[in-house]
């Protein structure tokens, strides 16, 4: 297959970037999108040019680092698929493919297609954990959790922190990410103890980072590679209001 690639190139965080066009011949339909970029980079290196910088690690859809904005869709045209799981057979032969980094004030570009997603980490640091005295692992059946709840918690916990929700949102809001991280604790006894404090701190951090406000367009759910449901955003809103309403004054 042959493609024309239009890729965002930017030397560093402060440089002014621009699109560069690269014609690429003899691409195998079985190549993953990242393998296609490797193939391009090998050619660029052999021509003595700077290869395209992009982030990747697991290449199996679990680390969340490979997010690219491809032809107007985060992670490309396939739903429930990360960029590393996307294959060139999903494109038309001869197609022009435009590749951009995530665009959000809270995700500044570091180089080419790599953005700094540490704003997500800071949201987690604000409260995305459970404080426990680390000892022996407790007997698992001592805190029974219903199957329905366990499944829901797992549905939230599969978020890989890729940032596609922010990239897909016209408001570049991080509500789906924050909701998934809050929901994975809010429904189980271990997490409930600190639930009110957690939602308060994490939402505050999210707002500090400069993400946009949610207006329920649900684009995030559509483009989330893990299919995280916007139901969790409602859950987070509910937690948030009840946290505000029930906040106790310190003695």
């Amino acid at each position: 297959m042959n493609f024309t690639l239009k890729i965002w190139r930017q030397k560093n965080a402060n440089a002014k970037g621009s699109f560069q066009t690269y014609p690429l011949k003899d691409v195998s339909p079985e190549m993953s999108f990242l393998e296609m970029l490797d193939y391009l980079n090998n050619q660029l290196i052999s021509q003595g040019k700077e290869p395209v910088t992009f982030e990747h690690d697991c290449r199996e859809g679990i680390c969340g680092s490979c997010g690219l904005y491809i032809n107007g869709r985060p992670h490309g045209p396939q739903r429930s698929t990360t960029t590393c799981e996307l294959h060139m057979r999903d494109f038309k032969d001869g197609e022009t493919i435009v590749v951009e980094p995530w665009r959000s004030k809270a995700f500044p570009v570091i180089k080419d297609l790599i953005v700094d997603r540490s704003s997500f980490e800071r949201i987690m640091h604000a409260g995305g954990f459970v404080n426990v005295n680390v000892g022996c692992a407790p007997e698992s059946n001592s805190s029974p959790i219903g199957k329905l709840i366990a499944d829901k918690v797992f549905d939230a916990a599969v978020c890989i922190g890729c940032g596609a929700c922010v990239a897909a949102c016209k408001n570049s809001s991080a509500m789906l990410y924050a909701a998934a991280k809050i929901a994975q604790y809010a429904m189980i006894p271990q997490g409930k103890v600190e639930a009110k404090e957690r939602v308060d701190k994490m939402v505050k951090q999210m707002d500090t980072e400069g993400f946009g406000f949610c207006s329920n367009t649900y684009a995030c759910e559509f483009d989330c590679p893990k299919g995280i449901s916007t139901d969790f955003i409602a859950l987070m809103n509910r937690e948030f209001f009840s946290s505000k309403a029930c906040k106790q004054k310190h003695a």
Binding site: K6, W8, F19, Y69, N71, G72, R73, P74, V98, E100, R103, S104, K105, A106, V109, A168, K170, N171, S172, S173, G210, F211, G212, F213, C214, S215, N216, T217, Y218, A219, F222, D223, T230, D231, I233, A234, L235, M236, N237, R238, E239, F240, F241
Partner: protein, 206 residues
């Protein structure tokens, strides 16, 4: 935002119910009686201020939200976002601005007469005679056209807004949310069609 919006949505039901009295075929008797009754009721006098506050809060928050969101993506995408979203949800600010423009025209035509800010037209019997004012206005096809276009956009705004306000308040449930979405569509359709038939009736059948 959601609470103010919900309050406005409830207000629209009462407003529509009153307006539909114009179609009673009694030369506006029932409608005028309702208007006189309402404008003399102390409860409505209080609610008028609440309504103003509701609009003000909703519009102010809407503008703040839009500005903040615009700034949250300082560098825009080269390719337009192609994620599938409900169409109306993307244009809430735009439909909101159209409703706002309509609201200003609407206030000038009716409310300001009662306040005495706009001189009472000579075809109106008294400052509560909205019926005569409406009939004259709706006889004008341009005016009716502006009304109808506004109601179409109001319908678009409400179609997204109804379910959105529940989601924003965290009122989501696997069992009831699908019903909320259906009711929202019926509500949006009901409000815009309901308001629209009045000028159409006066333009063509009166």
């Amino acid at each position: 935002m959601a609470l103010a919006g919900m309050f406005l949505m409830i207000f629209l039901i009462f407003h529509l119910a009153t307006n539909l009295l114009m179609l009673a075929g009694d030369g506006g008797k029932a409608f005028s009686e309702a208007v006189t009754f309402l404008s003399e009721s102390p409860l409505i006098k209080v609610m008028e201020y609440v309504l103003f506050a509701g609009f003000l809060i909703h519009i102010l928050l809407g503008v703040i939200l839009q500005l903040h969101n615009y700034r949250s993506r300082p560098v825009k995408y080269h390719t337009r976002l192609r994620s599938e979203t409900s169409t109306f949800s993307r244009f809430m600010f735009h439909t909101g601005v159209i409703i706002f423009v309509f609201l200003v025209i609407h206030l000038i035509n009716f409310f300001f007469i009662r306040l005495g800010w706009v001189p009472q037209p000579d075809y109106a019997a008294h400052k509560h005679d909205f019926y005569s004012v409406a009939v004259v206005l709706f006889k004008n096809p341009w005016y009716t056209a502006i009304y109808l276009v506004s109601f179409v956009f109001l319908g678009f705004h409400l179609k997204h807004a109804f379910q959105s306000s529940f989601q924003s308040l965290g009122l989501n449930h696997t069992k009831y949310t699908p019903a909320i979405k259906v009711i929202g569509t019926i509500y949006a359709l009901g409000i815009s069609v309901g308001f629209a038939i009045i000028p159409v009736y006066f333009l063509f059948f009166y």
